[in-house]
Structures are given as C-alpha cells and as structure tokens.
C-alpha cells in the first residue's frame, strides 16, 4: 500500500476510535466575522454622515407629532384601507370572472387587467381626478344626478385610482390561487351535490384566501406606501401635508424624514399583523407546521420573491 501524502488523514484503526462522549469542535468561520465587521463599519459611516449632515434633527422631532402630519397620516391610513378593500373586492370579482365558462366574462376580466395593470398608477390617479372632463355629470336614473367634480373629490379619486389598480394585480393573484386549489376539492363538492356557487364560496375561496394571504399582506404594505402618490392630486394625506409645510418653512429633508418615520411605523405594524394572520390561517396547512419559530425568525427569513 502506497504511503499516504502528509495532508491526508491517516486511516483510523479501530483501536484509535474515541468513546461516544468525545468532544466535538465546531468549524470556525473567520470570513463571517470579517464581512459582518465590514458591514457594521459601513452602517456606522452612513449613520455618522446623516448625524453630521445638514439636517436639523430637532425639526424632525418637532414635526413628528405635529397635528397636520398626524391628521395626514390618518388620511393615509384611510385611503390605503378603502383602496385595499376595493382592490380585494375587484380582485375576487374579476379573478372569478377570469375562470368563468362564459368567454365574454373572461374577456371583460382580461380587458380590465390589461388596461389597469398596463398603465402607471400615477397616470390612473390623474385620470380619475380629471374624470369630470370626460363625464361632466354622474347620472344614474333614479339614484344619482350630480356634477362629477362634486362626486370625485381628491379622496374618491385616490381610492378609485389605487383600488382599481390594485384590483387588476389581485385579479391575477386570485386566479392563480383558485387554480392552485386541488381539483379534487371541487369534484368532492360536486359529488356531494353542491352547486358551483356553493362550491366556490364554501370550498374553493376559503382555501384560496389561505393561499394568497401572504400576497394580500404585501398588498396592504404596498398600498400604504403607494397612497403617497395621492399627494399629486391635492389629497391632503401625509406626504401632501409635509410638502405644504416645507414649501413654507423650507425644511424639506426634515419633513420627508418625518414621513419616512411614519411610513416605517405603519409598514412595521402591518408586517407584524401579517405574520400573525398567516400563522393563524396556516394552522392546518402542511406548509405552516415547519415555520413556528416566532416573529423574529420570520423577520430574518430570506425575502420571498416579489415581496415589496
């Protein structure tokens, strides 16, 4: 037998083997310490840059709880909530239509997605805001007869613009969700004698909601941020309020930072809510059982694809 080179471990004979309680030494990872240290240094440098930069942090603190800003944030929340509700409702309605047996319903749903997913949401907001130029009056016989400018206030335009746009994305999400519920679920419901409507409501949709809940959570977070676009149509939400203040006092960056703090607070709360919602609804899903290590483990998980 040739002599083994120096670097290879010599063959262990049975008499050399240690007992079962032998100490185990873990492999050291100096590279992790170095890269971690470098990132910490970088973070410290960025933090210092902002500390010594031309920002009056006292102004940030002063406006953080200013009445106008807090009211603006209230509007931000209200717009986001209304638009999300509208978007989810439209998403389910058109998502179900996308799978209809009726080709005309399918086409209508496709058209909706094509138009509203294919144009920028900012553009849509501006169009909703100026819709009175096309339809001066809103007239539904026996129900409404008013000037369009009185109906489509900046608030209504913001909710419509953001909600209808979100609905076009959620249509595809709902369609995919329904499609990924096992076909056998539908067949089982049919053999029990359940009608298509009963099957959809009681069997398919509850399982769809569970599947698309993570996406809906991301939608809520995204919506909170996209609502800032309403600032462009004179809706007095938080960003608009901040702009009106800094046009007067010139503290541009300070007020934008105030907004950043509030948006971060909002998205953080939503993230926590999303975590608990997913955990609750996932209680009997096989996928959730492996992921119950708590909120902080979830925070540190690798980001999912497409997560806002």
């Amino acid at each position: 037998m040739p002599h083994l080179p120096h670097s290879s471990p010599a063959a262990l004979t049975l008499t050399d083997l240690p007992g079962p309680d032998v100490t185990v030494r873990r492999l050291r990872h100096p590279g992790r310490w170095i890269s971690g240290g470098l990132v910490l240094l970088l973070l410290a440098a960025i933090g210092r840059a902002f500390a010594v930069g031309q920002i009056q942090w006292t102004v940030v603190g002063q406006f953080l709880t200013a009445g106008v800003i807090v009211t603006g944030f209230g509007w931000t929340l209200l717009i986001s909530a209304c638009a999300l509700v509208l978007g989810v409702a439209l998403g389910f309605a058109f998502g179900i239509m996308r799978l209809s047996e009726n080709p005309i319903l399918r086409f209508a749903a496709w058209l909706y997605v094509w138009i509203f997913r294919g144009t920028p949401v900012l553009l849509q907001l501006l169009i909703w805001f100026n819709i009175a130029l096309v339809f001066p009056r809103l007239y539904i016989p026996g129900l409404v007869d008013e000037r369009m400018v009185d109906v489509v206030t900046p608030f209504v335009a913001a909710v419509l613009g953001l909600g209808v746009n979100e609905g076009s994305y959620l249509t595809e999400v709902v369609r995919g969700g329904i499609g990924s519920v096992d076909r056998g679920q539908k067949e089982a419901a049919h053999t029990l004698g359940m009608t298509p409507g009963q099957t959809m409501r009681r069997i398919i949709l509850p399982q769809t909601v569970r599947l698309i809940l993570p996406v809906l959570g991301n939608s809520a977070i995204g919506m909170l941020k996209f609502s800032s676009l309403a600032a462009t149509i004179a809706m007095g939400e938080m960003l608009n309020a901040a702009q009106r203040i800094y046009f007067i006092n010139g503290a541009v960056i300070e007020l934008l930072f105030v907004c950043a703090v509030w948006y971060l607070a909002g998205t953080t709360v939503l993230s926590i809510g999303q975590y608990y919602l997913e955990r609750h609804f996932g209680r009997d899903a096989a996928t959730a059982s492996s992921d119950r290590r708590g909120f902080w483990a979830w925070v540190r998980r690798p980001a999912a694809r497409g997560e806002a």
Binding site: D182, G184, Q185, E187, A188, A189, H190, T191, L192, G193, M194, T195, P196, Q198, R202, I203, P206, Q207, R210, D284, A285, A286
Partner: protein, 254 residues
Amino acid sequence: MSLAVKAVGIRKSFGSHEVLKGLDLEVAYGEVLCILGPSGSGKSTFLRCINHLETPNGGYVWVDGSIMGYALHRGALQELPVKRLRAQQSQLGMVFQHFNLFAHRTVLGNVIEGPMVVRGLSRDEAEARAMGLLEQVGMAAKASSYPSQLSGGQKQRVAIARALAMEPRVMLFDEPTSALDPELVGEVLEVMRNLARGGTTMIVVTHEIGFAREVADRVVVMIDGEIREMGAPQQVLSDPGDPRVRSFLSRVLA
C-alpha cells in the same frame, strides 16, 4: 331484484383517444360490483361517467328512475341545469383514490358539509348523524382533527363517512386503497366489507383481487375501454374465457 344503475352504451374520448368504447352495465340494489382491469383500461373513467364527473360523449346512465344529467323530452335527452344534475349526483356517494377531504375543514366539518348545505339539515342534526357515521368507520375520536393530521387510511375512512352522510342510493369507490401504504389498506377494506354486509349497493374500481373475490357479487374485467368479462367472482377470476383477461389476471395474481 330491482335495478339501481343502468349504463347504456357509454362512450368517452379525450381528444382523439377513445377511452370507453360503448359500455353497458346493470347493477341491482344490494349488489356489490367490482371493476377490475389493467391501468389505463378506462375503469376509473367509466366510474366517473356514471356520476357525471366526466360527461360521456355517447350513451347515458340511468340511476334510480332518472337519467344522469338529462331529462327525456320528446324522445331526446334534454340537458339539465347544473343544480338538478348536482341533486342527482348527491344520490351517488363517491370515494376518491386521493380522498379529496376538504383541507380547511375538520373531520366532523367534512362529514356535515353535504347534509347541511345540500340537504338543509340543522348543524345539531347533521353533527349527531355525522358522529354516528364516524363511529361506524372508527374515526369518532378524531372528529376535531384536520385532514393533514390523519394517516391515509384514516382519511379514506372519513371520506367514506362523508359520502355515506348523504344517504346515497349507491356508493362508488374509485381505487380507494391505491394511494395507501400497504399496512393501511386493511382498515379501509374492513369498513367497505362491513358496508357490503349491511346491504349497501357498491360499485368498486379496485386492484384488490382478494377483496373482489371475497366481497363482490359480480366482477367486471375491463381492458382497453371494453368490458371483456363479467360474472360471479369465482367464475371470472378462476376460469376466464377471454385470453387477454387470463393474461391480466395471471399477472396480478402472480
């Protein structure tokens, strides 16, 4: 002996592939019929045509006084609205190979769903009856578990209870033990054996030759979308006339 099911000239194609080539079958009340045959012979498709999970391309199925999916009108078959087809389908209990339990409902929730939603029973009444059925299949202790917490055999026993809850005229079984680990097959067959003993009308698509020999009143062997052999299990299984049936049986009995 009155007829429960009569299938007349059932044909079914998927694209250009003809799966069923004009099948006739009669099943009497109280009878247990086992459908055997190699994979791809069309036996599952035939069962799914009987309860209209697949719509036949030709022929029709008569169940307990009405034609599945159609009304006879001036000598022609007029397609029924979905709601009336579903009412007919609820007369046929179906047990699937992959159980198809409602994943978001507990065991009890699965069994009461049909009686409450389709039959309009109150929750209390449906639950009381469901518990009786779960007792019968030995799953009462798991009433509040979710399907994902059950073994395959347990899922299939719940699925049988769910189908029975509709008080169907006929029970259809589509390879009910094919997806089970070998040691779990017995508990499901035991439940089916008890049903047969109790006089339930059953059509069972299966690979379990032993079960067919022991429980079936009649056995059908399908090959390539046709019924090649039909008769008492002793006769069909031990002395088949058709050479292709003989070669199939020698392979599965080996």
